[in-house]
Symmetry: C2
Subunit: 361 residues, 2 copies
DNA sequence: TCTTCAATTGTAAGCGCATACATTAAGAGA
DNA sequence: TCTCTTAATGTATGCGCTTACAATTGAAGA
């Protein structure tokens, strides 16, 4: 790791000025071919790697986009990594119920979309998880490193976002469009739920429905609930004729809520505001020997991969997560190109995906 | 997006010099409390966010670590993101066989580990997918921006890595330790497979085994195969007494190989060098009505989450992916602290996880 | 009160690159 | 061959920050 060569070294070696070296790298067309080749040769020989810090400073933009997603520190112990030789291999029985790692998938796909789109547009992608304690430091830290920031809804306090947004474009992902100054990218929550609910109410002819909503502070959830209400109206049903409960978007919450429902009721369909809740509901139904879809129809929302592996497989509304990631980057670059744009809002189309838990009629 | 304030603005507003502003941010203890408060107040009022580019240039380190993972561009269409209002929602039947998105999980966990460890140590994390072998991509996108680089094995050509390694520490993830100058972090492939194979050979008393290896260019695979051979020796079996085939680590490859095996053979156990292959094998066995584990035992390697959802659930050797990510960052920071370290190699312990496809005896 | 020395703060010099502007080389036209 | 125009290259400056070193301050000791 010798001292890294700089433009000066390359310039000297190839007998040109640093400006020419810079040009060869930045706008090769402006340099005569002969010169360019000499410079490039020197670059290779010296193992020159341009310093992004210097470039960013001079050009006043880093060409990096930041992606902020929810944290998950609980899962990882604080102990240092030890390099213990793994020569003794324990043999264990797997008794897990596979209820973990669902949300991860969501983020993973968003990340992939963002990564792809960023790359295509010539940006690098920096990621950070919102760790409770030091969130503020983290956000400003990353804000100083990037040209724009995409944040998963509800992972960063608005006040902090506003602070950051004074400097760089901020786009909020997967939270509904609120009337604020941020750009928003989200899926078509309302219409998605409405379509699915209509399928249940009309195609399946179900009247006896329970809806399990999510946390009240989730804008996505609010839209989905609203979509459900629209569907009720579409079928001429009074809201008082159905039961609407709240849960918390988790599988455990879904289980608890299902238990609560079954204590007094046996609806023909249970519509859940997200997949994890629905999976929890399925758990309870199976455990009690209630057949899905014969006795009860169950639906979710999101399209997480666990829903494809459940038994029965889960009917859901699929959000285009990869596209969400791409759209977020798109929104940021659009604003970078034209900072005076009005706050915009991208709503990506969703799909109702029918599987066994609520099959095609 | 007004012009961002700089140290000069903060200095002027708080009536100190820029050096003091810098100190307040970098080493607050060196500044009198009274002064510090004034400066911090100015920071907040102005909405100051330090420029990482300038800091990186001055400090000669970026405090960013790069993570390079395998590409996947094929999956995403090139079409631009359109902000079409998603008001019409199609209803589709899901006929996918869920054979996608398995590898993603692997990477996702590594990422989480890396992310956590990086921020804990005061580094930001930059991610990039390996696209082709474009040198410009690696060099200009990542190498110039980071203090160190973690690369998933086989995603970047060695030659390129060598080039980059002249400047910054490079650690290779999940490829076996080769005798090169890079640092390596990997799981205990050999002992893991050996333990699992011994369980099959000795505890289950199986003699009639087929082993499905992976691609020859995978160092992980080579170690696993070697572990399998060790197990044969442990049981006093000649290598000629078992059948060893090669596949390609994919689910489809597993299916094809299983078909090939069954054409001539009906072994009591099929050991696969990774989970995806094993899942493909399960597909074929189920389709032919061959019972697992009653007729055939099947095992995998990796511990991907799909293996927990398969029917029957898959016995496997679980790699600590989160820990791999953490260890990679650890290795990089260790080398940053002491560049003269000998090339090191971290081998993380694995676990044999028994599930129904090869249950506890 | 006058020193002395440590604690604070200020001054100034880059870090490596991009780029406006100045300079020079190279063709084109006569 | 000489001038004019354009292409190619060089010169010089500054991006915003860290940090060695200088200057100043202030409290303790004489």
């Amino acid at each position: 790791m010798a001292k890294a060569p700089t433009v000066y070294d390359v310039a000297e070696r190839s007998g040109v000025s640093i400006a020419t070296v810079s040009r060869v790298l930045r706008s090769p067309a402006a340099v005569r071919e002969h010169t360019r080749e000499r410079v490039l040769a020197a670059v290779t020989e010296l193992g020159y790697v341009p310093s992004a810090a210097a470039r960013g400073l001079a050009a006043r933009r880093t060409n990096v986009i930041g992606l902020f997603f929810p944290g998950h520190d609980e899962t990882v112990p604080d102990q240092p990594v030890d390099s213990a030789r793994g020569d003794t291999v324990p043999i264990v029985d797997d008794d897990s119920d596979a209820s973990s790692d669902t949300e991860n998938l969501y983020f993973d796909e968003v990340l992939r979309g963002a990564e792809i789109e960023a790359w295509r547009r010539g940006f690098a992608l920096m990621v950070a998880a919102g760790r409770g304690s030091s969130r503020e430091a983290l956000v400003t830290d990353i804000a100083g490193r990037v040209d724009g920031l995409a944040v998963l809804a509800r992972t960063v306090p608005d006040e902090l976002l506003t602070y950051v947004a004074r400097r760089i474009p901020v786009v909020i992902l997967a939270g509904a469009q609120r009337a604020d100054d941020f750009d928003h990218v989200s899926a078509s929550n309302g219409p998605g739920m409405r379509t699915l609910a209509n399928y249940v109410l009309q195609d399946h002819g179900v009247r006896d429905v329970v809806y399990i909503a999510g946390p009240t502070d989730s804008p996505d959830d609010a839209e989905r609930l609203s979509g459900f209400r629209d569907a009720l109206a579409d079928s001429g049903l009074a809201e008082s004729s159905v039961r609407i409960l709240r849960s918390d978007f988790t599988r455990d919450g879904g289980r608890a809520t299902a238990a609560r429902i079954l204590a007094t009721d046996r609806p023909r369909a249970i519509l859940c505001s997200n997949d994890e809740t629905a999976l929890g509901v399925l758990d309870v139904l199976e455990q009690r020997g209630i057949r899905v879809p014969d006795d009860v129809l169950v639906t979710g929302f999101d399209g997480i991969s666990a829903g494809r592996h459940s038994r029965p497989r889960l009917t859901t509304v699929h959000q285009p997560m990869v596209e969400l990631g791409r759209a977020a980057v798109h929104a940021i670059t659009a604003r970078l190109d034209d900072p005076n744009l009005e706050p915009q809002s991208f709503t990506l189309p969703v799909e109702v995906v029918l599987r066994e838990s609520c099959p095609r009629v």
